[in-house]
Symmetry: C2
Subunit: 342 residues, 2 copies
């Protein structure tokens, strides 16, 4: 007698602040997974331009310009807009209304304790001049996550407090409403660690200037590989080399699928007798192979900006259907009854 | 050759948090002026239910119930919905989007320094558990004021920092936009001071339990007048009485139009030989005269709740025309171009 029904696919939400081109660090830590996830889950990618504005108010042109650039990066790596919804945050005012009401569900002290925000405030040297929108951005992020009824949110482990904050809001609102209006989200921490910067620093980052962009030209790739930090003790070819902290090998670990060949090269390097230039030649070949098809796809799409903007508009309207439904539910808690029309 | 044009009327915005019935203190400090202003200015009254929620999240039923009660009080005192726009804050989500973007234009330190917020935090014993929405409510208020392009905002002198905060946002946004998108507001501090509570405390306030509501019944008015604080040194009729701090005379000053008769009574009281009961009899008569027509008008409207809700819906839609235009201008600064549709 029971009706057999396919279980609904889990909803996954990710996104990026459009403040510059995406790079290999994004690819390894996130974009690659998104390409894999898009058939397994119901995936939405939010271009978080509103969040980017919280610390780029005086440079909003940069944020606006990078919306389509980031979208091109998505298409370049193989995100399929027919199965993944790609949408623009400032085009979804529903999210701002959710944020407004959620601000009543969080204390100032709780926001100030948020370790992610604390660390980002430190990095930006804001001290007492934190824009209010920056302090409250975890609430805006909670609005995003809950608006899409996301079950899964891929985050680095430094972002776990954001998910915790979101779920506190979820529970508080559901208690207030006395029914389950919002769903709790679970963090999906990717198995692979962070990709180091070409300078050997722990994190590849646009602002540190140690990144290889996904749209890098062949010459840029060559130059970046040449600059890659290796082993400062490996002065002569015959010296034994070290793999730890060696960025060239970290990248090969991430991108070289010939695991046996790579192991052989590592053994040789550690024994001594293998020049850095050989390692870098192999790395450059792999990176050129990896990035060439991305760059070509990107160029095809970039030649047709209408396609990109149409895709963003269509994705945003698709997103609006979900988001507006959540907003209706949240409004039922806060808005004075009798409005009617909407 | 020049086209003669009537100068546009100044725009005035006022409002109340719908947390309970309005009382004589509201009438003297604000409502009476609104009745006078409605023909002189283009007046909007915002029923600030969203702002009331910032410290009443757990008691939102009270806020929602009081929206129509406050609207009835407006009609009772003679606000004419054909000339004054009466609208509901939670029915104008445009205001939440403005608030969201304005949060980027204000620092946390600036909000924490706001003397009005500091004092209200103290009164509510919030300490570190201030809801974020409460700390940021001056930003929401700036959204209200600027959304309506209000030139004038009637406030008590304790609210002047709110206008200052609003104008800082106005100037910051106009600088960002490099054109005059928002207009600065001016405070209109009413000439008459605050009405004391019936217990002699400086402020009549619902939460202090020392108020006479505009919808009070004749018996309630009688009982309140009986409890009015007068002169504790005036023990026997023959004793000379004191006017300072004497609530009965403060109310007569506010409501008795027979100034000569009142002066005579004051002289008699100060000389000695006039019983408090005589003063209170005169006061009760005046208050019954003042409040009877209000109560009757209120009852008429209350018998027709559809009228009140239709009025609020129509007022809100009228308000939306102005507010949506401001939002369009502010969006032009923050929202990534290319949205199209909206």
């Amino acid at each position: 007698m029971s009706v057999s029904k396919a279980p609904a696919r889990k909803v996954i939400l990710t996104g990026d602040r459009p403040t510059g081109p995406l790079h290999l660090g994004h690819y390894v830590g996130s974009l690659k997974n998104r390409v894999a996830h898009q058939h397994e889950y119901q995936q939405t990618i939010l271009v978080a331009d509103a969040q980017a504005l919280t610390d780029n108010t005086d440079d909003r042109g940069k944020v606006h310009r990078n919306v389509s650039e980031v979208a091109l990066d998505y298409l370049a790596v193989g995100i399929d807009p027919d199965v993944t919804t790609i949408c623009v945050q400032t085009w979804l005012p529903e999210l701002t209304e959710l944020t407004f009401y959620y601000l009543n569900l969080v204390t100032v002290a709780r926001l100030e304790r948020n370790p992610t925000v604390k660390e980002e405030i430190r990095l930006r040297n804001f001290e007492r001049d934190i824009p209010a929108g920056f302090l409250t951005y975890p609430v805006s992020q909670a609005a995003d996550i809950t608006a899409f009824r996301a079950n899964l949110v891929p985050v680095g482990d430094d972002q776990l407090p954001m998910i915790e904050q979101t779920n506190e809001i979820v529970r508080r609102l559901n208690r207030l409403a006395d029914r389950e209006i919002l769903v709790e989200a679970h963090a999906l921490v990717p198995p692979i660690g962070r990709l180091p910067g070409i300078d050997g620093r722990a994190k590849m980052s646009k602002s540190l200037g140690n990144a290889i962009n996904l749209c890098a030209t062949p010459d840029e790739i060559r130059a970046a590989v040449k600059k890659c930090y290796t082993d400062p003790l490996h002065l002569r070819v015959d010296d034994p080399g070290h793999l730890e902290g060696n960025v060239a090998f970290a990248y090969l670990d991430a991108f070289d699928e010939d695991r046996a060949g790579l192991q052989e090269m590592k053994d040789h390097y550690v024994r001594g007798g293998l020049a850095d230039s050989k390692v870098k030649a192999r790395l450059e070949e792999r990176l050129q192979e990896l990035l060439r098809p991305m760059r070509e796809r990107r160029e095809q799409y970039a030649a047709n900006p209408d396609f990109v903007w149409d895709m963003l508009r269509a994705g945003t309207e698709r997103a609006r259907e979900t988001v507006a439904k959540t907003l209706d539910d949240v409004r039922s808690v806060f808005v004075t009854p009798g409005w009617g029309g909407r």
